[in-house]
Subunit: 231 residues, 2 copies
C-alpha cells in the first residue's frame, strides 16, 4: 500500500512538473510572439494549450484516485490535497500564457508593443520562463530551498511591473490609450503568472517543512504589488 | 459515521457560502467606495478582508479534517475535494474586491472614474453583488439550476466589460492614459470576480448531476472574453 502510494505520488508530482514546464514554454513562445509579432508562434501557444488543460484533468483524476484507492493519512493525505490545489495554480499559469498569445494574435500584423517597452516584456518573459522551469524542478524534487527562491524571481517581476506603470503613466507617453490598455493587461498576466508559481512553491515548502515561509502569502504579495504601483 | 459526515459537509457548505456572501458584500462596498470616492468604505473593505482569509484557512482545515477523520468515499469524497477547490475560487473573489477598494483608496480624494464610465461600474458592481449572493445560495443549497444561472450573470458582466473597452479605445477618450490604466485593471477585476463565481457553480453542477454544463469551461469563458474585446 505504502509503496503503491509512493509510486502514485511520484507520478502526480511529475505530472504537475510537466504542466509547469509546458506553462513556462508557452510563456516563452508567447513572449517571442509578442516581441516579434509572430503569428505562427502565437497560434502554436493557442493550439498547445489543450495539452495543459488535458494534463490538468488527468492530474485531478489521478489525485482523486489516489485518495479513493490508497486512502492516505496524515502527511501523505496532505500531499495529495496540496497536489489538487496546485493543479489550479499551474493550469492558470498556462491560461495566462494563452492570454498573452491571444493579444499578439489579435494585433497581428501590427506589433502590440511600442519599442520603448519591449525591454520590459523581454525581461518579464525571461523571468516567467525561469520561474516556470524552477517550479517544474520544485514539483519534481520538493526542494524547499529552491521553492523559496521562486519568491526572489517574483520580486524581480513585481519590480519590472511597477516600472512599467511609471512608463505608462508618464506625461511623455505618446502611444495612445489602446496600447496602454494592452500593456496594462499584459503586465498583469506576467505578474500573475509569477504569483501562481510562488504559490506552488509556498505549498511545497509547507508540505516539506510543515511551516509557511515567513513573508507569506501570495495573495498579499499580489495586493502589495497593486498598492505600490505608482500614483 | 455517515451522519457525522453529513453534518460536517453541511457545515463546510455553509462556511463556503458565508465566504461567498462576504466576498459579495466586499464588492458592494468596494463599488460604492469607487463611485463615491468614499475612503471610509474602501478602508472597511480592506480591514474586513482578513475575515475572508481566515475563513479560507478554516474551510481548508475543516475539509482536511473531514478527509482524515471520516475517510469519505465515492461521491462524498468528491464533494470534499470540490469543497477544497472552491475555497480557492471564493478566496480569490474576496481578493478582487480588495483590489477594487485599494484603487479607490489610492486615488482618494480624487475619483478614479471619469463620469462617463460610472454607469458601467455601477452595473458591474450590481452584477458582482448579485452573483456573490447567488453563489452563497448555490453553496448552501446545491441547487444545480441556480448554479447554471450564474453563467447568465457572467455573460452580462462580459458584455459590459467589452463595451467598457470600446469606450476606452474610442478616439474621443479625453481622460488620459492613467485613468485608462485604472479602468482596464478594474474592469478585469470585476470580470474575474464573476468568472470565479461561475467556476463555483460549475463544480456544484458536476457534484450534483455528475456532468459538466454543456458550454464549459470557465477558463474558456475567460479566454473568449479576451478574444472578443474590441480590436
Amino acid at each position: 500500500m505504502r509503496a503503491a502510494y509512493n509510486d502514485k505520488m511520484t507520478e502526480l508530482g511529475d505530472l504537475l512538473g510537466e504542466m509547469a514546464g509546458l506553462a513556462g514554454e508557452a510563456m516563452d513562445k508567447a513572449t517571442r510572439a509578442l516581441l516579434q509579432a509572430d503569428l505562427t508562434l502565437a497560434e502554436q501557444v493557442i493550439s498547445d494549450h489543450d495539452r495543459i488543460t488535458e494534463l490538468s484533468t488527468v492530474s485531478e483524476e489521478r489525485a482523486f484516485a489516489l485518495l479513493a484507492l490508497q486512502a492516505p493519512v496524515a502527511g501523505d493525505l496532505r500531499s495529495v490535497v496540496s497536489g489538487i490545489q496546485m493543479v489550479a495554480d499551474i493550469d492558470r499559469m498556462g491560461a495566462l500564457a494563452l492570454h498573452v498569445a491571444k493579444i499578439a494574435r489579435r494585433r497581428h500584423p501590427n506589433h502590440v508593443l511600442p519599442e520603448e517597452v519591449n525591454g520590459y516584456f523581454a525581461e518579464m518573459g525571461r523571468i516567467a520562463v525561469s520561474i516556470g522551469a524552477a517550479a517544474k524542478v520544485v514539483l519534481e524534487t520538493r526542494d524547499p530551498e529552491l521553492a523559496a527562491r521562486l519568491r526572489d524571481e517574483d520580486e524581480a517581476m513585481d519590480d519590472l511591473h511597477r516600472h512599467l506603470f511609471t512608463v505608462l503613466m508618464d506625461r511623455d507617453w505618446s502611444h495612445g490609450v489602446a496600447a496602454a490598455v494592452d500593456i496594462t493587461l499584459l503586465g498583469r498576466f506576467y505578474e500573475r503568472f509569477a504569483d501562481h508559481a510562488v504559490e506552488v512553491g509556498r505549498r511545497v515548502i509547507f508540505l516539506v517543512t510543515g511551516k509557511l515561509p515567513d513573508d507569506d502569502a501570495t495573495v498579499k504579495a499580489d495586493a502589495d504589488n497593486l498598492t505600490t504601483y505608482p500614483d
